[in-house]
Subunit: 319 residues, 2 copies
């Protein structure tokens, strides 16, 4: 796809994934409107230069997203409440920020005649997957978390708009991402705790959860590759690495990189939190058939994430 001169709206464009995607689109000659409420985004991540517009607003404000959508050619809808672990404390957040926000984006697109959208869903939609690596057409899963439920709902809204209104949708079921601008998740949690007390580390679950991760640059290259090469009205694709690592291995690498040797204290149980999927490894055959492959290992990605956290003090001020 020739992005030159295309006007792309990136929701969550001040966030980890959104800002990285915005940079990549700008580098390919697109104009970018960043739509972000800065609930978790950082001004420091914002792309700069000509061709960038910032709309500071919440997606629940329908008038604002309707207005921002005018003249847009393509949408990257990457804004979300990604706080899986804590969503039971405030269930409304997932409903609002992931379901209603997505509905507002789609309605704004419909009103403005915009039909192309990339969407970040999650590998958590497979719940306690019975097939691993999990393909996109795995057995219909039971949803175990509000976060995954809200993403399944958003996926359904997108595909219904494809059937009903002629939209073209690219839905990616992400594993957890790592890399520069990562500000939220297990690496930052462990890093914070170890900075506070390098002698011990409390670990949710039993340390044996196995999960795949992907570097954010490999993620963005996957999104752009798929838009280039997958042209069905509805494209649903897993996105992840072809192996997983145990939480314990991840901790060992983090500790080594930080130069600390904590005693580990396990919370117990086989999952990190209620609704956690203890094993996440996605079958990415569909995406690989398009010619995409990850370029960084999970271990490299963890180390790079830590380097970013250590070199970027403003990230710590938040959260």
């Amino acid at each position: 796809m020739d992005w030159r001169g295309k006007h792309v709206l990136v929701t969550g464009g001040a966030g980890f994934i959104g800002s990285t995607a915005a940079d990549a689109l700008l580098a390919r000659g697109a104009r970018v409107t960043v739509f972000d409420n800065f609930s978790t985004g950082f001004r420091e991540f914002l792309p700069t230069g000509e061709g960038v517009r910032l709309v500071e607003a919440d997606l629940l404000d329908a008038a604002k997203i309707n207005e921002a959508m005018r003249g847009v050619d393509f949408v990257f809808h990457l804004a979300a409440n990604a706080d899986i672990k804590d969503n039971l404390e405030e269930p409304r957040k997932c409903v609002d920020q992931n379901i209603l926000a997505t509905y507002n984006v789609l309605e704004a697109m419909r009103a403005a005649g915009v039909k192309d959208i990339v969407f970040s869903s999650t590998g958590s939609v497979y719940g306690d997957a019975t097939v691993i690596p999990t393909p996109e057409d795995a057995p219909f899963p039971v949803q175990t978390s509000l976060y995954a439920t809200s993403k399944v709902a958003a996926e359904g809204l997108l595909t219904s708009y494809a059937f009903g209104y002629g939209f073209h949708v690219w839905i990616f079921r992400f594993v957890s991402l790592l890399g520069p601008r990562y500000t939220h998740g297990h690496v930052v949690d462990f890093w914070r705790k170890l900075k506070r007390d390098p002698t011990r580390l409390h670990v949710l679950g039993d340390g044996k959860q196995q999960k795949s991760y992907l570097h954010v640059a490999d993620c963005v290259s996957a999104l752009l590759t798929a838009v280039d090469r997958a042209h069905e009205p509805i494209n649903v694709m897993n996105l992840g690495h072809d192996y997983w690592i145990e939480v314990d291995a991840s901790i060992a690498l983090i500790a080594r990189t930080m130069g600390v040797s904590p005693r580990l204290e396990y919370g117990g149980g086989d999952r990190g939190w209620v609704g956690d999927s203890p094993k996440i490894l996605l079958d990415t055959t569909r995406l690989r058939r398009l010619g995409w492959a990850p370029t960084k290992t999970i271990e490299e990605s963890i180390v790079e994430t830590l380097r970013f956290l250590m070199e970027t003090p403003y990230v710590e001020r938040r959260g």
Copy 2:
């Protein structure tokens, strides 16, 4: 389950399925609170007698459902916007009446400490099913309609509340129901058209769509059987007959029962409307293993539906 003295809240209790379920619960000795906004329900369907309470309100009014939930033991959440065919004209309806309404019911339950809920989902969640008869763990489907999307979202909310808050949930994926108090769907559509003009009938699609149907009494007996005998925290079950009939066969039976011989005019295409699933036959092994079986054929159910429509003039005044 001994329903005597139990207080059951039935959302949509003035509707086709809800009022039939309410009657069955009352007959088993339960007290029933009917919660209905009368958007499609009928006062004539309301159960009567001691032990019945009516709350006339909308599920989007959180204060009202919160208040109605006090002292309740069990919820039958059967209220929904069931207008699959027209949801593209007003997409917000499915989001509000099926997703947000379900969220409000669950939050009211959580606040009141109520944990048991029966929920009417739909066989449409399987989209264009690739396995027929379709089992509950069929390949993860792509959602083709806003209606099915909203039901998938509601299912996920229920199962997330089971994981997160210890709810017990019985989720039934319904085929279309037939029988007394049926006021909405293909039989009433054909009946209305044929009363207006018995010489011809416009048929959506090509008349070859094949769908399973179930009598509402068999549906309600299935719900009660499952609550009695299935005790997992999460119970997901298909609900339908073990065969299907073609739209053309359904029309022939309706015409014969009405004593008319219309010329058929087909709208064309292999589905009735955008997002319609042209083939619906569910694998009901799970439910049958509990000892349930349908007692009425689809043909009997169609004829009984027509008799009800012919004998119940007030139904025609609506819609």
